[in-house]
């Protein structure tokens, strides 16, 4: 029996993977070919999706992008023996885009059947949990601290310190909450983990529960991810059947239960306190801090709230040790970052690399330059609240501190490229418009400032009292930066002012000093 892989990842499905899978099944039936069709996750080489793989004695061989109409010719060419075809990509593992990555968190993504517990275990799954079950809670926290892992949602707060705070907070009930409200434009690494390797997130949350003494976990998933919802629920059910979730984890007498809750299309609910309000069934209004969620979080109880990638990085840290993970990276940015290449790029996709790789390497060595063939003019890193970087800053290494030094952020690792047709004053206007659309309304700088920001930028674009209005925009941005309650209002000035500072010609003003 020959194993044939067709992804069930939503991006691959959005390009016709389901039709390809159906065509392969019926063509195999017609030719009486003995195949086993496996629906794997995506490898993250999205310009090649739908990418079909065939297992051969020398390894998995890839073909892509495959349309349903190509299937008969693939059979004719002998793709079941890995033979050549116009869509041949060779051995999957040898494709440079994939081969040159350092996949730690994404080690299994695209390789396994996402909802097969057996497959997960056969590929080193649940080794982290088995080790965690032999450790004292403080020792688990110590391992995570040792790894240097910082919150991958964007704020980059040390995960170990957060866990230690919750461990030390006395309470009969504590919670683990996974922030899966991945709303940043240009980001999809959370989605990929949940659709392509959901067990790694479940295992990470279970370990977090053991580490701090929490028995209930919630995954707050954005409702724009229906495929992730299905995959998570299938995986949770399989983990429960296998004894990896429930009241007696692997016979240890320790309990951990997990439930997926859906958001409802509010970007601000990616902010942790707004998310907790939403989980409690309320409007997603941002809370004042302190108290920190680690002390008074969900339903007022001590709560670990971490991003999907942070939690999904925990199993390998427990399995291979904190030092193993820490040895990747640079400076205070330890480990790896799943970088998401999006927008106007020839080779968009998922690139997990150790911190320290430069933006230029990512854009050209991996991204292959712009899709349009025009020069890349601007790159937004870190989602809608991230700064726009001009070509002169492309040599910045991906490192939290190096980005902070040029008034930019890495955020959740999204990289969106724009070619030279982009109008940066329009992008700045969009930044304010988005903030106005998504503001929770609790604090004035964000609620009112964003609408005033749209108006001021409109005046600048129309050439009305340009110098005065640019000064006003800077003043308004300063108020939002310093006076907003959370990062939505507080960081909207990043895309706005970076566009103004690096591309003043698009605003009709002379370059700043």
């Amino acid at each position: 029996m020959i194993k044939v892989y067709v992804p069930r990842d939503s991006s691959a499905l959005g390009l016709g993977a389901e039709q390809v899978a159906t065509a392969i099944k019926s063509e195999a039936g017609r030719r009486a070919a003995d195949i086993q069709l496996i629906r794997n996750g995506s490898r993250g080489l999205y310009w090649l999706e739908p990418m079909v793989e065939v297992e051969t004695p020398v390894g998995r061989v890839a073909y892509g992008p495959v349309a349903a109409a190509d299937v008969a010719s693939l059979f004719d060419a002998g793709f079941l023996e890995g033979k050549a075809h116009a869509l041949s990509l060779g051995l999957t593992a040898e494709i440079p885009y994939l081969k040159n990555q350092e996949r730690l968190t994404f080690a299994r993504v695209g390789i396994t059947d996402p909802v097969s517990l057996d497959d997960y275990i056969a590929h080193e799954g649940y080794r982290g949990l088995r080790r965690a079950l032999t450790l004292e809670p403080a020792a688990i926290v110590e391992e995570v601290t040792e790894s240097g892992l910082r919150g991958r949602g964007g704020a980059a707060f040390p995960t170990g310190i957060k866990w230690r705070t919750v461990l030390g907070a006395p309470s009969e009930q504590k919670y683990i909450v996974c922030n899966a409200d991945e709303g940043d434009s240009g980001t999809f690494s959370d989605r990929m983990v949940m659709e392509c390797d959901p067990f790694v997130l479940i295992e990470g949350m279970t370990i977090a529960g053991l580490a701090v003494g929490a028995t209930q976990g919630y995954i707050y998933l954005r409702c724009e991810y229906p495929h992730a919802h299905v995959a998570l629920n299938e995986a949770i059910a399989a983990a429960e059947r296998g004894g990896y979730l429930g009241d007696n984890l692997l016979g240890s007498d320790k309990a951990f239960r997990l439930e997926v809750r859906l958001g409802a299309g509010a970007y601000v609910c990616g902010e942790e306190t707004s998310l907790l309000e939403s989980l409690e069934g309320k409007r997603g209004l941002v809370r004042y801090k302190p108290p920190l969620p680690a002390i008074e979080g969900l339903f007022g109880k001590p709560t670990v709230i971490n991003n999907v990638i942070s939690l999904a990085s925990v199993p390998i840290i427990l399995d291979k040790g904190g030092a193993y993970y820490r040895d990747f990276g640079m400076g205070r940015s330890r480990g790896t970052l799943p970088i998401q290449l999006a927008g106007n790029l020839k080779h968009p996709g998922l690139v997990e690399k150790a911190f320290g790789v430069t933006l230029r390497e990512i854009l050209y060595d991996y991204g292959g330059g712009s899709a349009s063939g025009c020069p890349i003019r601007a790159v937004q890193v870190g989602g809608p609240l991230g700064a726009y970087l001009p070509e002169s800053q492309f040599d910045t290494p991906l490192d939290y501190e190096a980005f902070a030094a040029i008034w930019a952020v890495l955020g959740h690792g999204g990289v969106v490229a724009f070619d030279d047709t982009a109008d940066m004053s329009k992008m700045a206007r969009y930044g304010m418009e988005f903030c106005a659309e998504e503001s929770c309304g609790k604090c004035t700088p964000c609620r009112i400032g964003s609408t005033r920001g749209v108006e001021v930028i409109d005046k600048i674009r129309a050439g009305v009292d340009r110098d005065q209005n640019v000064a006003l925009l800077r003043d308004l941005s300063d108020t939002m930066l310093a006076g907003s309650l959370c990062a939505l209002g507080g960081m909207t000035p990043y895309p706005v002012l970076s566009a103004l500072n690096h591309f003043p010609e698009d605003f009709g003003v002379a370059a700043a000093e």
Binding site: S10, S11, L13, G14, L15, G44, Y46, W47, E49, E182, G183, D184, S185, G186, T187, F188, D190, R191, C223, E224, Y225, P226, R261, L262, G263, A264, G265, A266, Y267, S278, L279, E280, G281, K282, R283, G284, F299, Q340, L341, A342, G343, N344, P348, G349, L350, A371, Q380, P384, G414, V416, A417, F418, D419, A422, M427, Y430, F434, E437, E438, C440
Partner: protein, 158 residues
């Protein structure tokens, strides 16, 4: 008051099944909207009563979240991504095409009741921009021609 267009017993059953969950309001609103396509304003008192909340509190939650709607949608809802990665790949032209093709603006239904049009801010399909979602299916690299094909195929679905 006009007659209710939805079945009170079914909705009550949904509410009863979920009301004891911690933080039950969002799961209830999702379940009602999954069942009816929207959250009818005259179902709010029912939900409020079950959760011991005021009607204003329930209404406040419904109105806070973009996803919840208080009027019936078309048979299929078309979401078009307006976020940056899609903008970098021509989503503005796609938005204009979609509005023209369907003959409606955002938050409207076509006169034949087939489609609703809504904006969305990122579908996590950013490596295959521009993206749309029809029902629960995501589509990538959507050119105006491909948009028309998807609309036709959706119409043809039973």
């Amino acid at each position: 008051m006009s007659e209710q267009k939805w079945n009170v017993e079914e909705v009550s059953l949904i509410i009863q099944g979920l009301k004891d969950k911690p933080g039950a309001l969002l799961p209830i609103l999702h379940a009602v909207q999954d069942h009816l396509g929207y959250v009818p304003p005259d179902s709010v008192p029912l939900i409020a009563h079950a959760l011991n909340l005021s009607r204003a509190e329930v209404h406040g939650v419904i109105s806070f979240y973009h996803y919840f709607r208080e009027s019936p949608p078309g048979r299929e809802t078309v979401h078009i991504c307006r976020a940056e990665a899609c903008q970098a790949m021509g989503s503005e032209a796609l938005e204009a095409h979609a509005k023209q093709r369907l003959g409606i603006d955002y938050h409207e239904n076509t006169s034949d009741g087939q489609f609703s049009l809504e904006p969305v801010y990122c579908l996590g399909n950013c490596a295959c921009s521009p993206s749309i979602m029809v029902g629960k299916e995501v589509y990538g690299r959507v050119s105006p021609e491909r948009f028309d094909e998807i609309i036709e195929a959706t119409k043809a679905k039973p």
